[in-house]
Amino acid sequence: MNPAKKVLGLITLFTLIILVITPYLGLSDHLTPAIQQKILMDIRLPRLLLAFIVGAGLAVCGLVFQAMFHNPLATPFTLGVASGASLGAALSVFLGVGFDFLGLSSTTLFAFIGALVTIRFVYGISSMRTGFSLHTLLLTGIAISFFFSSLILLIQYLNDLPDAYRLIRWLMGSLSIVGYDAIWQLLPFIVVAVAVIFYLSHELNLLTTGDDIALSRGVNVRKTRFLLFVTTSLCIGAIVSLCGPIGFVGMMVPHICRLLIGQNHRWLIPASCLFGGSFLIICDTIGRLLIAPAEIPVGVITTLLGGPFFLWLLIRTRTPIS
């Protein structure tokens, strides 16, 4: 059997186990079965499903960024795209705009625009002809993140206290929802993003070899990149506007999947989806159990794991492919 197929099978099995076990963790034995049932169905299950689709979306978007920028450190989070989306979302809340456009809430739409503008900007910098390097790209991302963070702080400062608190809480990244509304809101974005990205998996394979080789093999690089920019922006925008910026999932998950399954995106995309989903469920469960009955926001957990991982990758990536 194809080794990649075998690994994907194992990841699927792992995901199923996580999906079945985690809802029962931390469920008090003193409650009546009826209440236990209600907690499971109305609180645990929607949260589990949300964590799964958010994790899958973040992991796949991270995978796309790594392929497009030929760099394991390039993700929507490290390049400032998540900050752009956050700023967009914060701005829409601050300005009090409340409208729906083509079924998108104004917050999602603002987050999407924030993400798209940032991607375009970072890409513009990265494709400038002279003196571009991995370090320039990452520093650009950091500069953008700082800049947008201060703008968000400014918005926070100008807001009244309860709104400011909500904003802080949201910026930590959180999956605490009740009911299924958020899932139905988010699911179309994730499904479309994953479908488009999977459809472009051959192109993603070729993009990792660099633009010249991709073009000479017949990839319409400009069109592919445009499609991927829009798709990932929509996906990140939708996630960020709902759950806040949840960092480093898009870096850790695809990288671990590459180590497990190799470089072929045909396998990497489903693997990243499944592993990203189960990874975020695990992080959320840790956040839920660690100081129970209080909760640590999931974004804090992923960032605590992601920081050291980022450093490890930075030290390990000695010869970046440019």
Binding site: N220, Q263, I321
Partner: protein, 260 residues
């Protein structure tokens, strides 16, 4: 009819003109070498033909089809390209060569017997079967060059563009790659356009030579005529003396001691 016709091709980046009004025709099965100083526009010319750089003005027709009407995929079925600098790729040689079939696939295609035949042919021609399973990063310069050519051949395009395919190789591997190109051209009728700095290689092996200078055509003609042409010293702003090769009697060019 010519296989490739380039007329009045101009390419610029910002204010800087890289190619201006270059016209040339290449027949099917031709072997054209492009000579010229660094920065003369040789690589730009190849990249324009591969659609990597877009031209400002001018027309390119490929097998009577206007270039602008071809999708990148259609183009890649007619033209393949081996660039000058090869990024070190994080994949096996076999995986990399398989990418050559992209232009023949739609999004849901599976690996067919036709694909396997093209893959096997490319591997056999370039004689790289022994390191198919190896990682690209573990190859030497000469090995990697053959792998790059194999990956382009896997595309099975009737025209192959090569940008200084031997410039980083030792003399033994240079001869190897030259022989391979010769074989592709003569036995397999692949039309070759090669950028090179090696005048003697161009004169001995190619059928035609195009000399570029500052983005313009300096000289174009049958390869054997270059060494007796008055344009020779202008190609590199360097005087040459020609002598007969002691073994073959063919004329070869040596750089002259006295500067022009």
């Amino acid at each position: 009819m010519s296989f490739l016709a380039v007329s009045d091709l101009s390419v610029s980046i910002g204010e800087k003109a890289l190619l201006s009004s270059v016209s040339v025709e290449v027949a099917k099965g031709d072997y054209l070498c492009i000579l010229g100083q660094n920065g003369a526009g040789k690589s730009t010319f190849l990249k324009a033909l591969m659609g990597i750089i877009s031209s400002d003005t001018g027309d390119i027709t490929l097998e009577q089809q206007p270039f602008r009407q071809l999708s990148q995929k259609q183009l890649a079925r007619s033209v393949s390209y081996v660039g000058q600098n090869h990024p070190i790729l994080d994949m096996t040689v076999s995986d990399f060569i398989r990418f050559g079939r992209y232009a023949h696939h739609n999004a849901f295609a599976t690996w067919s017997t036709t694909d396997q035949a093209a893959f096997d042919a490319a591997v056999t021609l370039t004689d790289i079967a022994v390191f198919l399973g190896r990682h690209c990063a573990s190859l030497s310069g000469g090995e990697y060059q053959r792998v790059q050519i194999a990956a382009a051949l896997c595309q099975q395009a009737p025209m192959l563009l090569l940008d200084e395919p031997t410039s980083s190789l030792d003399p033994h591997h240079q001869v190897d790659v030259h022989d391979l190109i010769q074989q592709l051209n003569q036995t397999h009728q692949i039309t070759i356009i090669e950028v090179t700095h090696d005048i003697n290689h161009a004169v001995q092996h190619s059928q035609h030579i195009l000399a570029l200078k500052s983005g313009q055509v300096l000289w174009y003609g049958a390869s054997s005529d270059l060494l007796t042409s008055a344009a020779l010293p202008q190609v590199y702003d360097q005087a040459f003396v020609t002598v007969a090769h002691p073994e073959t009697g063919q004329l070869i060019a040596l750089t002259s001691e006295g500067q022009q």
